[in-house]
Amino acid sequence: MLQIIKFIRKANIMAMQIIDDSLFDKAFDLFTRIKQQNFEYVYRGFFSHNISKKILSLADVNIQRSLGVSALQKRIYYIMVEGLQNISMHQEDADDYLEKYPGIFAIQKQQVYYYVTTGNLVLNERIPDLKSRIDKINSLDKDELKQLHKEVLRTGAISDKGGAGLGLIEIARKSGNKLVASFELVNDKYSYFYLQTRIPIQKGEEETGDDYSKLRSALISIKKLHLTLNVENILLYFNGFFTQENLLNLLSIIKGRMNLSLTTIRLSNVMVEMIQNIIKHGHKIDDNEGVPGIFFIRQLDSGDFALLSGNYVTQEKKKLIEDKLNFINSKDLDEISELYDEILLDMDNVDSLRTGLGFYDLRIKSSAQLQFKFLKVSENLYFYILQTIIKNVN
């Protein structure tokens, strides 16, 4: 009898492994596709006032890391504020569809430009008006734009969205470049409205007409990413430098967008462990820039959640992590729980990879074994991916 029970248990574990492996491969595939695009920061989801504030400070921390506090950083900040306001203004029109078609906000750095892109639902009936406004703005030169800005301020030609169109004018003025807009039909009521601005890192890189096609292709890459994030149902996505400050911002974003439940609490706790693990053990490519990495949360078809982190580690760390994860995966939950108590009492605070509780905690909170992969990047460097599955118990 005992034999049979053992057999069934083993078969169950194996079945779970098979399913999870395919999920993991898919996540990995998604990860590599995204990684090539050089996104500094991407957010997909609902944009409340509070979430927008957190997104802004997350993105700004990332930009400050590359640019320092500078006039350029402030200009980008300003453009981000206007862009985020633009999104939250429009999403009021689309309450019933937001769950299914969330917006996107992305910062990309490519060669000598920063790109700020927003994507959100708009009512189809508003498209002609938006198009003509953008065309008008794009037809004006610097002085004419300034003139228009003054005029709108003075006459208070308030649009029905209360924005007076000032946001778009400001974005165009601050960037010194043309606005690139694109509309993707979603259904008979809504379309996605994508707006991309590019900001030259060095002055004097102002737009000439024939650059327009390059801008278009930068926008296409974001649209593709947005589609992927939508199809894969990625609730939270972060790609950039990991710091405690960023982690706290991500935590409040989760809090802001999900109802309080055991699942949410677990997601938050597991995210804290995974990201602090990156901060502690991840390899810095450049000493000044912090630990680069990626983190995202996917909701699976089953309703469960998959949390995935990716970062660089040295060969030495790889060995330690690998050994520890293999060890943990070889134990059942009762054994893990006993080990947890032992480690709680272990006073060594120095070598957290040996005596840390992080992985044990992940294993206890997860409904499956921890999955991981190491990809060789160079002689001594690996890209390390970890996935934790959290059951939706609500």
Binding site: L247, I265, N269, E273, Q276, L344, N349, D361
Partner: protein, 124 residues
């Protein structure tokens, strides 16, 4: 003894250790990067307090998020309280959100190890 009063931050809890007012409390969020650094002075204070404790110490924990690095430090803190419980009464009131069974479980772990403390588990 000089009380310890620490205002909460985004990643560290509010801490009040005040024997005169009979308030011993740690609450909100505890997810610091360096939990050892944060909790060391607190644990030292409790050890010092243990030399001449009140006949009854009621210590309240009301935590929302705790990272594992804090878990280890809280274990040390519990052990310090457990020492005090040798000669005085120590009650730990462990508050947890009704939905948060993980937080309850953490309290139970401490109870299992710090056997001389009287634990009360209180659902919010």
């Amino acid at each position: 003894m000089e009380p310890i009063i620490l205002q909460p931050t985004d990643d560290t809890p509010e801490v009040i250790l005040n024997p005169e007012e009979k308030i011993f409390r740690i609450e909100r969020v505890s997810v610091p990067e360096d939990a050892f650094e944060f909790y060391q002075p607190i644990i030292q204070w409790i050890k010092e307090y243990g030399k001449n404790p009140l006949p009854e110490t009621v210590f309240e924990f009301n935590l929302e998020y705790v990272n594992t690095a804090s878990n280890k430090q809280l274990m040390q803190l519990m052990l310090a309280l457990d020492e005090i419980a040798q000669n005085a009464t120590v009650i730990v009131k462990w508050f947890y959100e009704s939905i948060d069974e993980d937080m309850l479980e953490l309290g139970k772990r401490y109870q299992k190890i710090a056997k001389r403390i009287n634990f009360e588990f209180i659902e919010i």
